[in-house]
Symmetry: C2
Subunit: 405 residues, 2 copies
């Protein structure tokens, strides 16, 4: 499922590299210099000319005179100045710079010392053996990472190797969150009979954070079109994307749609999804900003969020560092029926039993909070399917992971 909105939510910002974990690149990073920048040894041993080792074996070792040692460290390291001549070797440590003329390193384990200044090699070394070339990690002028690349710890280290101190990354989207409903009270309040606390503001706040956005709470608005209109205008002024959840009285959902149309063009884009749970979801665009009406049921609101909102937040980068759409494969522990004509999502709990990973459906009344807490993830029954038979393999999308629909 994809929604094409006539807007571009991307904004970029210049950020110190240590703060770029989980962010996405707003521009490609070119290779500015070669890394490691010089030819290095990958082992402790002796730098030699590979040709001098050819033919060496247990019965016929190759003899080398050790003429010095490459020291690690500052400036052009001592020991690399003098060009290696026929039959010469230079002692070198892992990471050391190869002296001029050398093109391979003999591992210390494959040599034996002979007298004070000689070694014997019992194996030939090919050119480049135990060596990393100057441009083998990064070659100047090539592209290191493309636009949109998601930065993981190892990527931060890799760019540090090239001396990158700041990166141009996409800015997190500011997401305004509004709860509506005459029966909803703030979490600080003691609900009277018939009232419940504002669950959606809190779970959506977490969900926005999880997907790399910056949540901004606008509190609870009662089911009153004028008040909701005013609150949404306010949210539009200082956020990039707005979520309105609830409106549980019968007509409330309709006026959320009307308000979105009143706020500005193009207004309402869709009204209702062929998805269960999540059917009453609606969405529109106001002042070039997406506004989503999410279901009042907390569990349905979270699923609608994952479907419709999470894909838009990705420009800010995810907190989740997951490469693409990789669900966990499990066996379903009971049959599930589904009506063709809509996608249906079932919550499941994962458990290893006898070495097999089982997905146990978490069934429960639709208005309950507990099933959303008891579950580890979701399985999707496609639009035209009539269900899943017990024992079938299912792909479980774990809650909060980076999945693409």
């Amino acid at each position: 499922m994809a929604v094409l909105l006539p807007i571009d939510l991307r904004r970029s910002e210049d950020v110190p590299i240590l703060q770029c974990l989980g962010r996405r690149l707003a521009e490609a990073v070119p290779g500015r210099e070669n890394v490691p920048g010089f030819t290095r040894s990958t082992v402790d041993g002796y730098a030699v000319r590979a040709a001098d080792t050819f033919g060496a074996g247990d019965g016929a070792p190759a003899y080398f005179t050790v003429t010095g040692e490459v020291l690690m460290g500052a400036g052009r390291p001592p020991g690399v100045e003098r060009k290696l001549e026929l039959g010469e070797a230079v002692r070198i440590a892992t990471g050391g710079m190869l002296p001029s003329g050398a093109d391979a390193v003999l591992m210390v384990e494959h040599t034996e010392t002979v007298g004070a200044e000689g070694i014997e090699a019992y194996r030939p070394a090919g050119p480049g053996e135990n060596v990393i070339y100057a441009d083998e990690d990064i070659r100047a002028g090539t592209e290191v990472f493309p636009v949109n690349y998601l930065l993981r710890p190892q990527d931060i280290g890799y760019l540090a190797a090239m001396g990158e101190l700041r990166l141009n990354v996409f800015a997190p989207l500011r997401v305004g969150i509004v709860s509506t409903g005459d029966e909803i009270v703030p979490v600080e309040a003691k609900p009277a009979p018939g009232q419940v606390r504002d669950v959606n503001s809190y779970s959506l706040y977490g969900q926005v954070l999880l997907w790399g956005g910056e949540p901004v709470l606008y509190g609870v608005v009662r089911d009153d079109a004028a008040l909701l209109f005013e609150k949404l205008i306010q949210a539009c002024e200082s956020t990039d994307l707005i979520l309105v959840s609830g409106g549980s009285s019968v007509g409330a959902r309709d006026y959320t749609a009307e308000i979105i149309n009143q706020m500005g063009a193009p207004g309402l884009v869709f009204h209702g999804l062929a998805v269960k749970p999540g059917k009453p979801t609606l969405g529109g665009v106001v002042d070039r900003k997406p506004v989503f009406g999410l279901p009042g049921h907390p569990a349905a609101a979270l699923i609608a969020f994952d479907l419709m909102v999470a894909p838009l937040l990705k420009f800010g980068g995810y907190r989740q560092i997951q490469p693409g759409a990789l669900p966990v494969r499990a066996l379903i522990s009971r049959s599930l029926a589904s009506a063709p004509g809509r996608e249906e999502y079932f919550r499941v709990r994962l458990q290893y039993r006898q070495g097999v990973l089982w997905a146990d459906p978490v069934l429960g009344k639709s208005g309950l909070l507990k099933p959303m807490v008891e579950a580890d993830g979701l399985i999707r029954v496609p639009l035209e399917s009539e269900g899943i038979a017990v024992g079938a393999e299912v792909d479980v999308v774990l809650f909060g992971t980076d999945y693409v629909l």
Copy 2:
């Protein structure tokens, strides 16, 4: 693999609930009140006495007089005061509070209006149908979440429903990071030939963040026992756990071990792991704080981190929201040989081809940075195995996920 250290790194702190995403509970949360706190409807319809619907069917509808409506919202909602009598129904919306005497709700779709004040039901409703009971989400006095529970967005919402404003969670561990090596220069510097920039401080910084810790950088120390001793004492004073990576000159690793012993009892705990890459890893305890010597190779340092350090950071909660140890199952695209007697880790890249998820080994010289960047995760060849045959199923642990060894 488990390392038992004679220390307890846990510290707890009291944190506003909106800042608790990805944190672990330092104490169990009890059910302080019933949630939702009153009996609610899960549909739009009519609250009735279930017994009055028994026997209803298409040919013999049950007739009800609609005596009022439950309004949503403030205080004891209008419409719930008067006890429902035989044959009476009260209009109710999703989430509304059931009137006294009612024990089921007829969905509006299953009724028809008759005149101004009557409805007919064409199906019987069982007691509790379309109803959530007062204590069905949370029952006062029971345990809601145990100690160590990892808080996801839906859990934050669930606790908000009970009015929790602050939670007692484990504090993130402060992790001191020190790089050593005569050839290592700060990322800001332009390396001379033979020098390389400090990759490990940056990738370990990201890794600590990813696992929920608070990284503190102590910069680069050259291979000098006295300087390293001084730096480690300094790091011990203001962090909970210390990582020293590198020391690439031949004797450096040995004096890291010696320094750990000199710093205090019990000192060095282990020296070397039967793991490839990661063999030169060492660890000890100083002043009740773990100190790890990680390999200088950035890729090996990250694997050693995942094996030894990540499990200790979990008390601070992970940024990663993954339920336990759930690797991705894939098929290996080429055979890999491994020497029995040590665990071997191979980096793999994941790719779907013809609908099958393949794990393609990312092979490369051990000192290169690029393979760690090109890979999506790791596969583990167990201690006694001689390798994996092409086409075999492997479990890929994605980089940065919450896995337990």
